[in-house]
C-alpha cells in the first residue's frame, strides 16, 4: 500500500479539485448516502431521542472508562480470549506481528477495520513477510490499486466502475467475464473463497466491545467478517479503547444510530458477537482469540478539550454531508480518517504541526454536527485546534500578519467604516450576476469558488439610514 502523499494539503486538494472523474465518483456515493440517511431518519420519529440516548451512553462509558476496560478484560479472559494492551500504534503492530510470527502464519485474511489502518497494520504485516488478503470488497479493490481508504465506510468510493474493471482484469485469475458490478462482485467472491479457507490467521476490528460479556462485535453487509474470523486457527481483534459499551442492549441502542447514519439501512446484514475461541465440541471456530486494546492518543483526548470526540462511532455521516469532503474526497486529507471527524483526529494522531491545514479546511457550516448521531460538536472542536495552532505559533507568518492588520483595523471603528466605504464599491466592480469569480490578489479564494458580490452599502450605513428614516 502507498503511504499517503507527502505533498502539502493545499497541493493535494488542488489536484483533487482538478480531477473530474474523482468528483463524479464522490458525488455518486455521498449523494446516495445523504438521501438514504435522510429517508432512514424520517422513518424513525424517535431518532432524536435515540441520539440523545446514544450520546449519554458514550459519555457514561467515557466517564467510567477504566471500570469498563477492566470489566471487559475480565469477561473476555473468562471466555478464553487473550487480552493485550497497546499504548500506541507501534506497540499494537508489535503485538499483532508477534502473534503472527509465533504461529508461523503465512497467510492472513483481514476484515476492514479503520483502527487497523490507524496503527499501520498493513505495512507491519508486509514487513514481517506475511501475505495479507483484504476481504471487504472495497478494501480488496484498494489493495489491488495499492491505495489507502478514502472513506471510512466506502474505502474505494474514489474509484469508478471502469477503474475497478481495469484492476480486476489484471488482479483476478481468471479475469471477470464482464464489467458490470454483479459480475465483478461474483469474481471477487470466487477469488477470495480459497483465501478465506486457507488463511492461518483472521484479523478483524470491533464496532463494539461488550463489557459484561467480554464479546467483540463486528457489523458487515457482505459476510466477510465471519468468513475471516471462523476458519483460521487464530482470530485477532484490534480495537480502540473507546469502543466499549456496558452491555449488549447498549450496543443495540448505538447500532440503530450507526447503521442509519452510515448507509441509511436499519440493520447491517450481519451483526456478530465473538466471545472467545472455539468451545469444546463446537463445530467450527478459531482455537485462539486475541484482543488488542489500543490507546494511541485516546487517553490524551480524555484529558483535554477533545474528550467529546471519544463518542465517535465511525459512521461517516459527517464526511457525507461535508461540502469540503465532497469537493476533494478523502485522500487529500492525508490522514487515516478524512472529513470533519478526521480533521479532529489527525492532529491527535499525526501532530498538529503536520496537520494544521485540516482544521482550517472547514467552512463552519455546521452540517457535520447536525447529522452526527452522537452529537459531537465537530465545528467547536475544529475551532479548538485553530486556537491551539495560533497559540503554539504554528500559523505561517503571512496569516499572522494578515490577521494582525485586520485586528488593528477592526479595533478602530472610524477607520474600519472608512475602509469598507472605499472597499465595497471597488469589490462590486468585479461582480458578474451576483458573484465575483475573479479578483486580483485573491486567487487563493476565487480559483476554486466564487465570492458573493457585496451590497452597495455596508450593514452599518444601511442601519443608520434606516434609523434616520424612522425619526
Amino acid at each position: 500500500m502507498n503511504a499517503p502523499s507527502k505533498a502539502p494539503f493545499k497541493a493535494r486538494a488542488k489536484a483533487a479539485l482538478a480531477d473530474p472523474v474523482l468528483k463524479t465518483a464522490i458525488d455518486r456515493t455521498t449523494g446516495n448516502a445523504e438521501r438514504k440517511r435522510a429517508a432512514a431518519v424520517a422513518a424513525f420519529p424517535e431518532f432524536e431521542a435515540a441520539r440523545a440516548r446514544g450520546k449519554a451512553i458514550k459519555d457514561h462509558v467515557v466517564a467510567h472508562l477504566d471500570h469498563y476496560l477492566e470489566m471487559f478484560e475480565r469477561n473476555a479472559a473468562a471466555r478464553g480470549a487473550q487480552v493485550h494492551w497497546a499504548a500506541d500504534d507501534a506497540e499494537a503492530r508489535a503485538i499483532v506481528t508477534r502473534i503472527c510470527l509465533a504461529a508461523d502464519a503465512r497467510l492472513v485474511t483481514r476484515a476492514k477495520s479503520m483502527l487497523g489502518e490507524e496503527i499501520g497494520l498493513p505495512h507491519a504485516l508486509a514487513d514481517a513477510g506475511i501475505e495479507r488478503v483484504e476481504t471487504d470488497l472495497a478494501e480488496h479493490i484498494i489493495q489491488l490499486a495499492g491505495e489507502a481508504p478514502s472513506h471510512i465506510i466506502w474505502p474505494a468510493m474514489h474509484r469508478t466502475r471502469e477503474q475497478v474493471a481495469e484492476l480486476f482484469k489484471t488482479g483476478h485469475h481468471p479475469p471477470p467475464a464482464a464489467e458490470d458490478p454483479a459480475t465483478m462482485v461474483q469474481s471477487a467472491r470466487t477469488q477470495l473463497r480459497t483465501k478465506f479457507l486457507s488463511a492461518d490467521i483472521g484479523i478483524s476490528g470491533a464496532n463494539f466491545l461488550v463489557a459484561d460479556t467480554g464479546a467483540t462485535c463486528t457489523v458487515t453487509n457482505e459476510g466477510n467478517a465471519e468468513l475471516t474470523t471462523t476458519p483460521p486457527r487464530i482470530h485477532i481483534v484490534t480495537a480502540g479503547i473507546e469502543k466499549l459499551v456496558p452491555s449488549t442492549a447498549h450496543a443495540f441502542a448505538l447500532l440503530r444510530l450507526l447503521v442509519r447514519s452510515a448507509t441509511g439501512g436499519e440493520m447491517t446484514q450481519y451483526t456478530t458477537f465473538h466471545a472467545g475461541p472455539k468451545r469444546p465440541g463446537d463445530a467450527d471456530g478459531p482455537e485462539e482469540m486475541h484482543i488488542v486494546l489500543v490507546d494511541n492518543g485516546r487517553t490524551k483526548m480524555l484529558a483535554d478539550e477533545f474528550r467529546e470526540m471519544l463518542r465517535c462511532i465511525r459512521c461517516g455521516a459527517c464526511m457525507n454531508h461535508c461540502v469540503v469532503y465532497r469537493q476533494i474526497g478523502g485522500h487529500a486529507y492525508g490522514g487515516t480518517y478524512p472529513g470533519p471527524m478526521g480533521s479532529v483526529l489527525t492532529p491527535v494522531l499525526d501532530g498538529l504541526a503536520a496537520s494544521r491545514d485540516l482544521p482550517n479546511a472547514c467552512t463552519m457550516n455546521g452540517r457535520c454536527a447536525e447529522v452526527c448521531p452522537v452529537g459531537i460538536p465537530l465545528p467547536t472542536l475544529l475551532r479548538a485546534w485553530r486556537r491551539r495552532s495560533w497559540r503554539e505559533g504554528l500559523e505561517p507568518g503571512s496569516i499572522r500578519t494578515g490577521i494582525g492588520l485586520w485586528a488593528q483595523l477592526a479595533r478602530r471603528p472610524r477607520l474600519y467604516r472608512l475602509a469598507t466605504r472605499i472597499g465595497l464599491p471597488l469589490l462590486r466592480l468585479f461582480g458578474r450576476g451576483g458573484w465575483i469569480s475573479r479578483l486580483p490578489l485573491a486567487g487563493g479564494w476565487t480559483d476554486h469558488r466564487d465570492l458573493p458580490r457585496p451590497a452597495a452599502q455596508s450593514f452599518m450605513d444601511q442601519y443608520r439610514a434606516q434609523q434616520k428614516g424612522r425619526k
Partner: protein
C-alpha cells in the same frame, strides 16, 4: 510499567476518583429506561407479520407453513423454484434429521461452493426482520455463510419484538462463542454504490416460518 498500567493510570489521572461499581451499573441501566421512547415501532400489530414485512423489504423471501412436518415439502418447493439440485447441506440437528425428506438428499458438512444449506434459527426479531443463530456443537457457523442459498427455519413462537428482548434473552444464558443476527442476504454497495447481492455470504436468504408452537430449537 506495562502498557496496561500506563493506559489505566492515564485514564484515572484524567477522570479522577471513580464511583462504586453498583452505582455505575445502576446508571448504565437507567440509560436504557424507558426502552420505548428511543426505538422504532413494529410495522404490524402481530409479530409474524411485522417480522415478515421487515424481512421481505430487505430481499429475504418467506414461506409460511403450518408445522415442521411441512418443512420437506417447503424445501422441495424452494429448490425447484430456483432450479437447485436436491442435494443440500443440513445442520446436524436431531429435529431436522427426524423428518421424512422423501426425494431430497440432505447431507452433513458444507463444501466451499455449496449451493444450498438448511439450518434452524434460534429466534427472530420482529423490529428488524433479523434471524438469530448461536454457534455450538450442532451449529457450524460456516454453514450460514458459504452457500449461495441460505434457507433458515424459524418458528413463529420464538419471535421477539425488539432487539432489547433478544439482549435480555442472551444475558440470561451462557454466552455462546458466536451470536449472529442475520438481516437479509449478503450484499455490497462498494462499486459506485450499486447494490449487488451475494458479496461473500449467501446471495439468497429464504425463511420458512413455522406457525406451530412445538419445542424451541437450539
Amino acid at each position: 510499567m506495562t502498557a496496561r498500567d500506563r493506559i489505566l493510570s492515564a485514564i484515572r489521572t484524567a477522570l479522577g476518583p471513580g464511583k462504586p461499581p453498583a452505582q455505575i451499573a445502576a446508571e448504565a441501566a437507567a440509560l436504557l429506561d424507558p426502552a420505548g421512547i428511543a426505538r422504532p415501532h413494529l410495522v404490524a400489530p402481530v409479530l409474524p407479520d411485522a417480522f415478515a414485512l421487515k424481512a421481505t423489504a430487505l430481499g429475504t423471501t418467506i414461506d409460511r407453513v403450518a408445522s415442521m412436518a411441512d418443512l420437506p415439502q417447503a424445501m422441495a418447493r424452494y429448490l425447484d423454484a430456483h432450479g437447485l439440485p436436491p442435494r443440500f447441506a443440513m445442520q446436524p440437528a436431531p429435529e431436522l434429521a427426524a423428518l421424512d425428506w422423501q426425494g431430497l438428499a440432505p447431507h452433513q458438512g458444507t463444501a466451499p461452493d455449496e449451493p444450498t444449506a438448511l439450518g434452524l434459527a434460534l429466534c427472530g426479531i420482529a423490529e428488524s426482520g433479523s434471524l438469530v443463530i448461536h454457534s455450538g456443537p450442532d451449529n457450524p457457523i460456516l454453514m450460514s455463510f458459504l452457500p449461495l442459498h441460505h434457507v433458515a427455519v424459524l418458528r413463529e413462537s420464538t419471535l421477539l419484538p425488539y432487539l432489547e428482548d433478544y439482549a435480555a434473552r442472551l444475558s440470561a444464558q451462557a454466552v455462546p462463542r458466536n451470536a449472529i443476527l442475520i438481516t437479509g442476504p449478503s450484499g455490497t454497495t462498494d462499486i459506485e454504490g450499486s447494490y449487488v447481492r451475494g458479496a461473500h455470504g449467501p446471495g439468497f436468504l429464504h425463511v420458512i416460518l413455522i406457525a406451530d408452537a412445538g419445542t424451541e430449537p437450539g
